[in-house]
């Protein structure tokens, strides 16, 4: 039986992504999607928000959230196709699409959040 080297790492990324997404995304969505637009909570002024976004730590946290959430998606999507639709025979294509997509998304996130000057 082959000892797995990659599966544990992908699973760790999946688990971390699940936790991070569950903690961060509802809060961000509630704030920026509902509470600020409806002015249920006084929105921060533009200059303030820009300063927060420009801070390297904010960018790093947002980048981490994006990468982990993408790898969480890749794992879920892969097994939805494997077991849900029973397409395990297409594993090369599915893995390429899922993890390739997560890598591509991570690269885009890195470009937008880490490289692009604010």
């Amino acid at each position: 039986m082959p000892k797995q080297r990659i599966a544990p790492i992908l699973w760790l990324l999946f688990s971390a992504g699940g936790i991070v997404a569950a903690l961060m995304i509802p809060v961000l969505l509630a704030l920026f999607g509902v509470l600020f637009p409806l002015e249920l909570v006084a929105p921060p002024d533009h200059a303030h928000l820009l300063a927060v976004i420009r801070h390297p730590l904010t960018r790093l946290v947002l980048f981490g959230t994006c990468v982990l959430a993408l790898f969480h998606w890749a794992h879920r999507f892969k097994y939805t196709l494997y077991d849900g639709l029973q397409l395990k025979g297409l594993h090369t294509a599915i893995n390429t699409f899922a993890y390739g997509g997560a890598l591509l998304g991570s690269a885009v996130a890195a470009y937008l959040l880490l490289l692009l000057p604010a």
């Binding site: 039986m1 082959p2 000892k3 797995q4 599966a7 544990p8 790492i9 760790l12 077991d83």
Partner: protein, 246 residues
């Protein structure tokens, strides 16, 4: 309350028919009767040709697992009155080949059990001088997993095992953890290869049906998740310390 209930029982005699069929029997609906009592009534009074497994009648031996109205159940611990007015459908455990009527072939599970070496492994001495002492907290670590009665309801409930018979499966992994987490055991490295293979814990996608089905609250799904963390930590260690990190 009605005096009787109809039991629709799966019949399959491979020497006589190509496909399983359902056969209906009316049995007395008594408050204290389990599904198994209904089957025993059929066997004793109505149709002696019906085959099924049972032994203890008290949820201990794990041999009376069947599919009751679509769900895996211990038939000695599932009451007829819960299915009144009926009919109640009794079929063999799913995900296993049927030998005859309600009897399934459990050879695959037996083979998987021995793969995880579910016994205490010691490396240090030949014969112990006395008992291996254990604190109540150390007992608590594995006690839940030691409640397994090998009834295989979890295998019957597991959609992954249904798709892939090579998957080591819920009870075998929970039993491996029963010994891995025992302070007297020194065999976790011996069990690691089977558990961390692709057919081990990594096949599980945490559907959780095994823990729902388990009549003994073993929580095999929890055991598997916990071992995933152990295996992932070991993998990280082996990346950081490629030689002898284990």
């Amino acid at each position: 309350m009605a005096r009787s209930i109809t039991m629709q029982v799966a019949r399959y005699r491979p020497d006589r028919e190509a496909e399983p069929t359902m056969q209906s029997y009316d049995v007395p609906l008594r408050k204290d009767w389990a599904i198994l009592d209904g089957l025993n009534h059929i066997k004793d009074e109505l149709d002696g040709t019906l085959s099924y497994r049972w032994s203890c009648r008290m949820g201990i031996c794990g041999s009376c697992g069947m599919t009751v109205n679509g769900e895996p159940k211990l038939t000695c611990a599932t009451f007829l009155t819960d299915y009144a007015p009926g009919p109640v459908r009794v079929e063999p455990l799913r995900n296993f080949p049927v030998v005859r009527d309600l009897v399934v072939d459990i050879g695959d599970f037996m083979a998987k059990l021995s793969v995880v070496q579910p016994w205490i492994i010691r490396k240090d001495e030949e014969t112990p001088d006395g008992e291996y002492l254990q604190t109540p907290a150390e007992l608590e670590d594995y006690k839940q997993f030691s409640m397994c009665i090998n009834c295989m309801l979890c295998y019957s409930a597991c959609p992954i095992y249904g798709l892939n018979e090579h998957f080591l499966g819920p009870a075998a992994i929970a039993l491996a953890q029963r010994y891995n987490l025992d302070s007297r055991d020194q065999g976790s490295a011996d069990r690691m290869d089977a558990l961390s293979a692709s057919t081990g814990v990594w096949d599980c996608t945490y559907v959780g049906e095994c823990s729902t089905a388990c009549p003994k609250n073993v929580d095999p799904a929890g055991a598997i998740q916990r071992y995933k963390l152990t295996a992932a930590t070991e993998t990280l260690k082996s990346f950081l310390m490629p030689r002898g990190g284990r």
